[in-house]
């Protein structure tokens, strides 16, 4: 029995050593820590509140739900919209009524109930090979055209970025048409969906496919990376649906955890993330489009040109999220 006890004691020791200091915040982040850490450091410098960011690729909502009222999470940062909605659906967030935040973020980029906020926007672009395709004037609908048979690369259909795109298709065309579209899209794939967005552009560079689907900021990120620069340079970035409804927009965002142990500081951090300083940093470092109206995108991002964005309110995507996941399973998109 002493063994069991000593094992327990060891476990307890480990817990004790990781106990949270008082003037600090815990951020659960779907975004990789290195993306947000520089911004959070500025917050610490300004306020003296230490921020502990923990990154997880998936399962954060599930974890917070399980942790319940014992959860140490204060703020959740997500890399896309569906994950914000997941938090809301599971009743894991609490509303924030902060004037500064509401002024900084336009109404269409936050929930009517103030329980989530978008921080940055990105376009789901179509990349085309410079050598084999050229600049494209393309609609998402065209991805199902037989002319692209065996020429398209994409990551898993179940990835939130793609699910959101499918959800927007459902919002515009209804489930039945979207299913037909997905079937055509799948039939055009050069290979089984795999890898991340950058890997698709890489596949175009290598000649495996001619067209790749990917978020806008990756284009900038690749151009800044020594090894990946050649990938980005082998493709054009095309904003889809420019002659009609506009390109599909996804957002990264934040929410206040329902059982946040440090709500005051948490709201302070959230307000900071919507301030000019932080929004500028998001634009310059991450190559995303800031949501705050008077903050301009970085020079590089601006050089890709103006574009027309789909005006579908973002929370409308949420209504079609489950339907999108189911359609993707039904057409066996990833199999």
């Amino acid at each position: 029995m002493t063994l069991v006890k000593s094992a327990l004691a060891l476990g307890l020791l480990t817990v004790a050593s990781s106990a949270v200091a008082k003037d600090s915040l815990t951020v659960y982040s779907y975004r990789q820590a290195f993306l947000v850490e520089p911004i959070l450091e500025q917050f610490t410098q300004e306020t003296g509140v230490k921020v502990n960011v923990v990154f997880a690729k998936d399962g954060i909502a599930e974890r917070i739900a399980r942790e319940g009222r014992l959860s140490p999470a204060d703020v959740v940062l997500t890399s896309d919209f569906s994950r914000l909605m997941e938090l809301v659906e599971k009743d894991l967030v609490s509303p924030v009524n902060n004037e500064a935040i509401n002024q900084n973020i336009p109404a269409q980029y936050r929930s009517p109930d103030n329980d989530w906020y978008a921080l940055t926007m990105r376009v789901r672009n179509v990349y085309s090979s410079k050598d084999r395709v050229g600049k494209l004037d393309i609609n998402y609908e065209d991805l199902a055209n037989p002319e692209y048979k065996g020429k398209i690369c994409t990551r898993s259909g179940k990835h939130p970025y793609n699910v959101a795109l499918v959800a927007s298709m459902i919002a515009h065309h209804g489930e039945a048409d979207t299913k037909t579209w997905l079937q055509g899209f799948k039939a055009n794939l050069a290979r089984k969906p795999q890898g991340n967005d950058r890997a698709q552009v890489k596949a175009v560079t290598e000649g495996l496919c001619d067209i790749a689907i990917g978020n806008s900021y990756y284009y900038g990120k690749m151009l800044m990376d020594e090894k990946q620069k050649s990938w980005a340079e082998s493709v054009y970035i095309n904003f889809p649906n420019q002659d009609n409804r506009g390109a599909h927009i996804n957002v990264s965002g934040m929410a206040l955890a329902k059982h946040s142990p440090n709500k005051d500081n948490a709201v302070k951090l959230m307000a900071f993330l919507t301030s000019n300083v932080a929004q500028q940093a998001y634009a310059e470092v991450n190559m995303e489009y800031p949501v705050k109206a008077d903050v301009k995108p970085s020079e590089l991002v601006a050089s890709w040109g103006e574009f027309k964005a789909d005006t579908l309110p973002i929370y409308k995507l949420a209504e079609n999220h489950q339907a999108a996941v189911k359609l993707l399973d039904e057409v066996e998109f990833d199999l």
Binding site: D58, Q194, E332
Partner: protein, 543 residues
């Protein structure tokens, strides 16, 4: 054995067993809950594919490793050729290679943009993927080959021992009666080795069923990845538990087959086993063939991936040699040591009770405690989280009741969950190792010590412990290497923000930049090599 073993010993045994089977029970309870239509949706769409992929993969890997391992085992056990002494242990090395690392290296080489296809395109002047056919590495077949390459040593090890221990007189008789060596192999040696092969295949099948990383990297959906996705993607723990229950059904069926096969193993060969003089001495082309077979196997399964890893690590050394690397290495080491020590102590108690107790029913705790090995990491994680979460809340409720501030997430928020899961999964290994050592201690020693007035505790510490030393060490080492390698349970149970070498390396694999994590991968492989070499030495001494 007649000995006044006090009730408290067997009680301790039963309590350990109860804690160890807790996850399995929790999982089954969770699976029996109704869920919100997620499971029926899965069942109607993708589940049949997941199940058939899983079964197909298990069959292919089982066959693949069998085909690879049996000739190698035969050459080593029954033939004499240059290098045999070295290949004997070199062929174990692939066990130290996590399959997903081998998979990554081969994908890098054989993909469209890899050196092999580029060379082919230049040679034949092809320009696009439509000009030729090249099998995709990232496929079910590819995954089966990768897993076979690293899992075949399980079968090799068991088959080698079986071939070595086969009755010499039987085989001599077959040769005298005119069988060619080839015929003697097919008609006699192979059928006699069948139970050992079945055990090996069952082990390989269990490892295959538990694999998460390789299939997830290859985008081949199986039940294991489905459990993960259902839990974290659909957010339904209950549906995930239902999938896990299906998986357990498959696995327990395999364990049943294995047990059945092993039962028969008792029946034969009590005569003189083969000596070195009985080996076929291979000459010329035959010797070259045996050598070439073993060498190319070693090259494909270990040398090539390892060398590629080394070049990655050298190229990215400055970047990888950082604080994180040390932190994660320490985390891995800390957990692995903790798990090994706990497994050792628990299995020692369990096996002591089983050995010394006069009650036949006291077999039960050690038997029950061995079931954890059959639970794949993803499945086990669910089973561990459910009761620990419950416990966490219960503790905090008690604090609340007294009006005090609770300690927070004591079990699920710390490494306790990982350590617990690893102990449940790997306890079977240390139990098996101690069981084997106990077989070699004559029961008369126990009787003698009791006659001389020793208490049970003294019998354990003064008689058994010194004699079990080797078995204990071997068991602890095996648990240690498995704890370093285990990925899915760590991935699901780690405290948020916590990384160890396995999760760190896998992160790089799934982001397609293993180059940056190669140094950490090498540490996993090298740490895994040490116990293998030790294991082989002790086996050699035994035979």
């Amino acid at each position: 054995m007649i000995l006044g073993l006090t009730r408290s010993w067997s009680l301790t045994g039963y309590m350990i067993a109860a804690v160890i089977v807790l996850p399995l029970i929790a999982l089954l309870v969770q699976a029996s809950f109704p869920d919100e239509a997620v499971f029926s949706h899965l069942f109607n769409t993708v589940l049949p594919t997941y199940i058939s992929n899983s079964l197909l993969l298990i069959v292919l890997v089982g066959l693949g490793s069998l085909i690879i391992a049996v000739p190698a085992a035969w050459f080593i056990a029954r033939c004499e050729f240059p290098g045999r002494r070295y290949f004997q242990w070199l062929l174990l090395l692939p066990l130290a290679m996590p399959a997903y690392i081998v998979a990554y290296v081969y994908t890098d080489m054989l993909d469209y943009a890899g050196p092999v296809q580029i060379a082919l395109r230049q040679w034949f002047e092809w320009s696009s993927p439509h000009d030729y056919y090249f099998p995709s590495v990232r496929s079910l077949g590819g995954a089966a080959i990768m897993l076979s390459l690293v899992l075949f040593p399980y079968i090799y090890l068991l088959a080698r021992t079986a071939f070595m221990e086969q009755s010499a007189s039987l085989l001599h008789a077959s040769r005298i009666m005119g069988c060619t060596p080839w015929r003697s192999f097919w008609r006699l040696a192979l059928p006699m080795a069948r139970p050992a092969l079945a055990v090996g295949v069952a082990l390989v099948a269990m490892e295959t069923a538990a694999d998460y990383a390789t299939v997830s990297y290859f985008a081949v959906p199986t039940l294991t990845t489905a459990v993960y996705d259902t839990w974290l993607g659909y957010g339904s723990l209950t549906a995930a538990a239902k999938l896990s229950a299906i998986m357990l059904l498959v696995i327990f069926a395999m364990v049943g087959v294995e047990r059945f096969a092993r039962r028969k193993q008792q029946l034969f060969q009590k005569q003189s086993s083969l000596s070195a003089a009985d080996r076929y001495s291979l000459k010329g082309i035959h010797a070259f063939g045996a050598f070439g077979y073993c060498a190319s196997l070693l090259f494909a399964a270990f040398v090539l991936p390892f060398v590629v890893l080394l070049t990655y690590a050298v190229d990215y050394f400055d970047e990888s040699w950082n604080e994180q690397f040390w932190q994660y290495s320490w985390n891995s080491l800390y957990i692995a040591v903790l798990v090994s020590v706990i497994c050792l102590l628990l299995s020692l108690i369990l096996m002591f009770v089983r050995r010394v107790s006069p009650r036949p029913s006291d077999n039960l705790p050690s038997r029950l405690s061995s079931t954890g090995y059959a639970l794949p990491g993803t499945v086990l994680a669910i089973g561990v989280l459910v009761p620990l979460t419950y416990l966490d809340f219960a503790i905090n409720d008690i604090y609340d009741w007294f009006g005090a501030r609770g300690p927070g997430l004591l079990f699920t928020g710390s490494i306790f969950a990982i350590v617990f899961a690893f102990v449940v999964r790997f306890l079977a290994i240390s139990i098996g190792s101690i069981e084997n050592s106990y077989k070699r201690i004559s029961p008369s020693l126990d009787m003698a010590s009791i006659t001389m007035g020793q208490q049970p505790r003294q019998l354990l510490t003064r008689v058994h412990l010194p004699l079990l030393r080797k078995g204990l060490l071997a068991g602890a080492l095996l648990v240690f290497i498995e704890s370093m390698k285990e990925l899915p349970a760590a991935l699901l149970l780690r405290p948020i923000g916590f990384e160890n070498l396995a999760t760190y390396v896998f992160q790089f694999v799934s982001d397609e930049m293993l180059e940056h994590g190669a140094l950490a991968a090498i540490v996993i492989v090298i740490v895994g090599l040490i116990p293998l070499i030790y294991l082989n030495r002790s086996l050699e001494h035994a035979s």
